[in-house]
Symmetry: C2
Subunit: 316 residues, 2 copies
């Protein structure tokens, strides 16, 4: 389901490093060469390139990229080159900072990664920031947002497919009661969203839909302007149909007057190796325009080229 | 700091298994032989013995022990033989059950293990119970207890020694304000206890003590009968001076009219390989009786022999 395209016959890691070094040298940077290498290597291969580059030239590849590139193109290459867990730790840290706060990004990271991936993010967070992820999230949020976000980023959900239907029915009823009473921040509602396995939660919201005639997320739209309710809906969407969640983030990022490059770059770099094919299908279904054409119409230059390489333009 | 004594020259794993098999066979069980082997092998060695036993005799060693042994002796041998993460997962699960609930055991497991050990417990919990630890804890608790216990069992604290003194002062003040207002369940108080690193929390309570003239835990004793306050004090103790916490659990278990074998067995099996030497020092300092003598005075038979072997009676 990834869109990342790795060539069948690869140059050696040493050759990749040599080419990258060449791309940085001389008059001006060879951005095309950088894209042709990095955008076509998977996470394990990029990690090896980064290690070998540091050993060979005594400089972190990321530092070199930082010196040579700029603005949106720099950001997309930098995020892409990072190890997925390190990248997520960085995104999470930015999301807790005063200047770039984003509860949405925290929900996205906590709910669309596998349990083990989220644990690796927490490990990477320790290593890079000398604090824990939940510590920073708890410190920088308050009230209902804290109540929802801290358990989400601390979760280690069971990932088996087993579903307890009796429990699903019981908890669908609890959700219904909380919603009827407009108790959207009720501790049971948050408990169910933040601790149940994705399979179990899916069964619960399906039963809710069947039993009460309305989708759970529709009922959470009581006040469309309420930011906490919007975040709850994003939580449910990320947990039960991530490709639809990502389609919407891309749609809003592209349709905005003045593209939201932050969101576009984040989704492309974090999903290209995971489920971008499904997201592209969803995008086409919802917008009647292929994602790569929409990206091409909204971006330009090396930034555009890098994004298109990652979403698999060539085989679109 | 462990009291576990492993002989310098060990028989092979196959020999250990053969001897164990022999101990189960014939008329009556040879409990002494079982103790002489299992009580003197570390976690990695016991794991190998369990694997080899299963491969050789087609039966799980734990099943065989279950058939041959009974009551307190069975429990101590069984808990000891388990892999530490599996053992903790089992103890945590029992603590969430209706018949054997224990918020204390949950606090103990969440706060005296290292961050990585606690993560391994959560993994083992998935494997054995097909649910997540935090899911069961959240489901089986309510109110303030849930508010405290869920973040504690979900935590993955930073473990570096770095301390931010400005933050420690700020948070000591927050703790003081919460306590002055008797807001013992205040979300900031719980946030600080459940997310800060042990080093940071230690600095905070030290500053509290210096600045406000009273130990934080003393101030948490406003109502000595309040169970939630007692659990908060246990949390602080487990995080900042675990050996004192364990000394107290042992003291109460032994001094009780009718020993609390559950607590005694739990502490001995979970700490023998970790910090039982420190706990013994603490016990002697507080009770003027060596721990092994206290245990010998309060227990008997094979159960006594197994406990004494684990707390290092021979070299006491």
């Amino acid at each position: 389901m990834a869109t990342l395209a790795v060539p069948e016959s690869l140059p050696s890691v040493a050759e990749d490093c040599e080419q990258l070094k060449k791309a940085f040298e001389g008059w001006g940077t060879n951005e095309g060469l950088i894209i042709s290498i990095l955008a076509h290597r998977n996470a394990a291969q990029r990690k090896l390139i980064r290690q070998t580059y540091a050993e060979t030239y005594g400089e972190d590849l990321l530092k070199a990229l930082d010196k040579e590139l700029s603005s949106d193109f720099e950001r997309v290459v930098m995020l892409w080159t990072l190890d997925p867990a390190e990248r997520d730790a960085l995104l999470a840290n930015e999301a807790t900072r005063k200047l770039t706060p984003s509860n949405w990004v925290l929900v996205e990271l906590a709910c669309t990664r596998s349990s083990h991936e989220l644990f690796l993010v927490r490990q990477a967070y320790h290593a890079r920031f000398k604090r824990s992820l939940e510590e920073d999230v708890a410190y920088h949020t308050t009230g209902d947002f804290r109540k929802l976000l801290v358990p989400l980023v601390s979760s280690y959900r069971y990932e088996g497919a087993e579903v307890n239907m009796t429990l699903a029915k019981l908890e669908a009823k609890i959700l219904r009661e909380n919603i009827s009473e407009k108790a959207y921040n009720h501790e049971d509602l948050i408990r169910i969203l933040s601790t149940r396995s994705k399979a179990q939660l899916n069964a619960t919201v399906n039963h809710y839909n069947n039993e009460f005639g309305n989708a759970f997320n529709k009922d959470l739209k009581f006040d469309p302007k309420d930011e906490f309710l919007a975040l709850m809906r994003a939580t449910v969407k990320c947990l039960t149909c991530p490709e639809k969640y990502f389609e919407k983030v891309l749609r809003l990022a592209i349709n905005k007057s003045g593209t939201d490059e932050g969101a576009l770059t984040r989704v492309v770099t974090t999903r290209a190796e995971v489920d971008m094919k499904r997201i592209k299908e969803e995008y086409y279904r919802r917008n009647s325009v292929p994602l790569d054409r929409a990206i091409a119409g909204d971006t330009s230059g090396d930034y555009e080229k890098m994004l298109l390489a990652l979403v698999g333009h060539e085989n679109a």
